[in-house]
Symmetry: C2
Subunit: 232 residues, 2 copies
């Protein structure tokens, strides 16, 4: 059975990506990160998703919080924007962008892949219903893949070529949710909110909640996670 590394945040996109990698016949090694997020909810969700979708192994890597700065997701002094009129590439890159985050995450995935002798890496980036982060776009992924194939002994020695799979990159959020639902993803286990309340309820107003709620509405499905505020 082919093996793959799957980056798993515990959100809706990465859960669906894991389900697609499993459907593609891969034995999946899920990789999550703790990096001083405002909440640990994400990694708890990642654990539950990895278990429910039959990952062979789930590894959570600690990232020194000192490494990431300047983002509303890592610095409590920077506010998470709410109720933005427009979300996406045209609206500019919001303060929830974390500098070089996907570059660092993919680099850990590459290291683990090389140790395991794996050449397939799945990442749930999306550049349709997204917040405009540059490291979610296809041109970034293509450049990363080219770099990875020059960086590593396994590639240079001809043992294989690394491939970064982005199966949901061009889907709408509604399509992602429909696809995952067909594959049996339990979205009640996932967590997307950037700013949940003390009880763990999603805010319903940050970009991530709003993209998610819009996706469920367009898919004609009900989002199973609890919200403190929900307008859609």
């Amino acid at each position: 059975m082919k093996k793959a590394i799957v980056l798993l945040s515990g959100g809706l996109d990465s859960a669906t990506t894991l389900a697609l990698a499993r459907r593609g016949g891969f034995a999946c090694y899920a990789l999550s990160f703790l990096y001083g997020q405002r909440h640990r909810r994400e990694t708890e969700s990642a654990r539950a998703v990895a278990d429910s979708l039959g990952a062979v192994e789930h590894r959570i890597v600690q990232i020194d919080p000192a490494a990431f700065g300047g983002s509303a997701l890592t610095d409590a002094k920077i506010e998470v924007p709410k109720d933005r009129a427009e979300i996406g590439a045209a609206a500019g890159i919001p303060p929830t962008y974390v500098p070089a985050r996907n570059t660092i995450f993919l680099s850990y995935a590459l290291a683990w892949a090389e140790v395991l002798g794996v050449f397939d890496i799945f990442v749930g980036v999306n550049s349709t219903d997204y917040s405009g982060y540059p490291d979610c776009r296809a041109e970034f992924i293509t450049a990363y893949e080219a770099m990875a194939n020059l960086a590593t002994a396994a590639a240079v020695e001809g043992k294989g070529r690394y491939r970064i799979h982005t199966p949901i990159i061009a889907m709408t959020k509604a399509q992602i949710i429909q696809t995952g639902t067909e594959l049996g993803v339990d979205y009640a286990l996932t967590h997307s909110c950037y700013d949940p309340d003390a009880a763990g309820k999603s805010c319903g107003r940050c970009d991530s909640c709003r993209l998610r709620l819009k996706g469920f509405a367009e898919a004609g499905l009900v989002d199973p996670v609890p919200y403190a505020h929900c307008e859609i």
Copy 2:
């Protein structure tokens, strides 16, 4: 004054690279990593080198040791090769290669650069007198730079272009030592050995010691660090 991030291992190459960045007029932010090396000597040397060469700040990032495997530098069960007949690209990639190490290090450098608003990153890779690691070659650095300029908000928003500087990449070890000596690098502070003894003496037999000793001999200089064994 222009600012730069400088990757600093505490070895001879990165110390010289820091001195060259300083000579180039950069205010230098030095970045080192603790990643379950066999010894902490490297980061102690990095601290001393950063101080002696006037780095503005020196940050040491902890890397989860679980992230790196399969290398003689991170796994005590894998032996560091000694007295290899040939060292370099033609001799094959040795077990001291650490999967995706420079990719991960540069990714942290990129994150810090973006937070600081810095676009210049210096790294002391060398592909002349080296152990044949793929992530020390110019083609890797070029691909990394291309990726970095697609990965980050600062680049995509047109605030600047990231440049990965590799001032010693084509020098021989003797040239590196001569250059650093002219710039006032105190090589007594540096540490290169992969397998020092309990007293901290360099082994004199690993690839890193042998390249270093050969470099000092060819430069007509005496290496100031103590060796347990020294044939050159």
